[in-house]
């Protein structure tokens, strides 16, 4: 279980000193750090094989296109996507979900139908649906949560009914850590003929994801949270649905024929990739996927679980700490509050010790209201973290308490 220590050498930023202390990076749920392998792959591509893709009849064009499509293939395999042409590169989860909301939601959700969400959705999987609901005149419904921050599936079974057009649920909560039973939720949606959209931003980096088994209609995630570059993410969509949808962004590459007054669209997945894509970022994401696969997602999930459980235990044994989220079946985030200390102050005081945590609403304002807090502190873990990082966190919390007491 010494994964953390073994891989730290691959992440140059972990040698950085913050306020004179070694960096303890506990903010991977916001964004993960990048291993050498990703940066090297990015640079090697730009130094040896770079060109625009798809349209070039020259060696570099072929090389770049080949690498870009190889990235798509490898990512498709990583998430066990049922169809390669359903794997669309986007800038990240929000663009992926916006694409679905605009091109599927606004076209196919009808007046009077319902869109079912949860109160733990990240704004990225909430606000787009608010706008769809407003645009078409649909109703928003929220699956209630139990007090431990898990979904009440019995209620979900009632809420998801004949009126339901879409069910949009996060695979793993970025605040509570809750891992939702997305397979069951997809089934509930399909039973009533609704489409299921799963936000995988916090899941894909941390556990094996198998879309063949889960069977969602749409699934999205971000590269930068899984050791990859910023500026790239993925939407998986079921090809037959994508084919029925109108394009989202329009411009180069996504067209087939363009006349002055109208245009026709390219095949999948290109229909949804307008303009020059994030080419080098796709290559970087491919390297990240390779790196994750070499270690093994099962092993990463175990390590995350170990660290999270350890941190929860340690935090629970401190005085005056409120912990949020379920005790089992959870991802690599721990949200908490220290009585009498605003999480912003806690984060700032931990930073004095070189410890980076996140404090705020985590783009989940409705969930903050549900928890009845203004904000939480959140420590999140990834494969480069160790039990020493947890110890530093606990020590830091004690120090903060002393300072502000």
């Amino acid at each position: 279980m010494l994964l953390g220590r073994d891989v730290r050498k691959d992440f140059p930023i972990l040698n950085v000193k913050v306020n004179g202390k070694p960096l303890v990076y506990l903010d991977s749920a916001a964004s993960s750090q990048k291993p050498n392998a990703v940066l090297e792959s990015y640079c090697r591509f730009c130094e040896q094989r770079y060109s625009n893709v798809h349209r070039g009849i020259h060696t570099l064009g072929e090389a770049a296109t080949g690498d870009y499509e190889a990235a798509r293939g490898s990512i498709a395999e990583f998430i066990q996507a049922p169809a390669l042409e359903g794997v669309i590169f986007t800038r990240g989860t929000p663009e992926s979900i916006n694409l679905v909301a605009h091109s599927y939601g606004k076209k196919f959700v009808k007046h009077g139908q319902s869109i079912v969400l949860t109160p733990m959705e990240h704004h990225a999987n909430l606000v787009p649906w608010q706008l769809v609901a407003k645009f078409v005149g649909a109703e928003l419904r929220f699956i209630p949560m139990k007090s431990d921050g898990t979904l009440d599936l019995a209620e979900a079974r009632k809420l998801i009914d004949k009126t339901t057009a879409m069910v949009a649920v996060t695979h793993a909560s970025n605040v509570l850590g809750t891992i939702n039973p997305v397979g069951e939720i997809v089934e509930l949606a399909h039973k009533v003929g609704a489409k299921a959209v799963i936000d995988g931003a916090q899941a894909v980096p941390h556990m094996p994801v198998n879309l063949r088994e889960m069977n969602p209609d749409f699934y999205s995630f971000s590269g930068h949270k899984m050791l990859g570059p910023t500026g790239i993410g993925v939407l998986y969509g079921r090809p037959e649905i994508l084919n029925d949808m109108d394009p989202f962004l329009t411009g180069g590459e996504m067209i087939r024929e363009v006349y002055l007054d109208h245009a026709t669209w390219n095949d999948l997945p290109y229909k949804f990739e307008a303009g020059t894509p994030a080419i080098a970022e796709a290559i970087g994401l491919h390297a990240a996927v390779r790196y994750l696969q070499e270690i093994g997602m099962e092993r990463i999930a175990q390590m995350d679980h170990y660290l999270t459980t350890h941190a929860l235990e340690k935090l629970a044994s401190e005085p005056d700490i409120a912990l949020y989220g379920p005790l089992s079946q959870r991802g690599a985030v721990t949200s908490f509050n220290v009585k009498g200390i605003h999480p912003h102050d806690l984060a700032a005081l931990l930073d004095r010790e070189g410890i980076a945590i996140r404090a705020g609403h985590h783009c989940c304002q409705p969930l903050m209201r549900w928890l009845d807090v203004q904000a939480t502190a959140r420590a999140s873990f990834y494969l480069y973290n160790t039990a020493d990082d947890v110890a530093a966190l606990i020590e830091g919390v004690r120090t903060a308490r002393k300072v502000l007491a």
Binding site: H344, D345, A348, M368, Q374, V403, L404
Partner: protein
């Protein structure tokens, strides 16, 4: 960041000046920082053109609360024109981290570190923008 939570700031946070309601207030103004969740109410008692008394209530981080405490201490007894000048001095101070010309800032200068922390600027300025809202209300009534 290390110098932000210094003795002066912590003192205002631990022992806030003028915290609570104000009997016989002329008006109260609410301020909010939605991204942080900081909430603040300023209570003002005016005596003609002068802030004869002032207090605050609120909920938020140490920076926003200490800044509110400093504000009440600093503005109590001042004329509305002076208050406006102080707000402007504070703005320029928080932007540059340097004491502006004119009357010294005293305790308030403990907030200098905020200038390098864009995320915290809104915490430090909450009380001051709320006070400015108060001035506007006074002028309009």
């Amino acid at each position: 960041m290390s110098d932000l939570y210094g003795e002066i700031l912590l003192d205002h946070y631990r022992l806030p000046r003028n915290k609570g309601q104000l009997v016989g207030e002329t008006l109260s103004v609410e301020g909010k920082n939605p991204l942080c969740g900081d909430e603040l109410t300023l209570h003002l008692k005016l005596d003609g053109d002068r802030v004869s008394d002032i207090s605050f209530e609120g909920n938020g981080c140490a920076i926003s609360m200490a800044s509110a405490s400093m504000l009440t201490e600093d503005l109590k007894g001042r004329s509305l024109a002076e208050v406006q000048r102080r707000i402007e001095q504070f703005r320029s101070f928080i932007r540059d981290g340097k004491e502006p010309d004119g009357e010294p800032l005293d305790d308030i200068s403990a907030l200098a570190g905020v200038a390098q922390l864009p995320v915290r600027v809104k915490c430090a300025t909450l009380a001051w923008t709320t006070m400015e809202q108060g001035l506007l209300q006074v002028k309009q009534s």
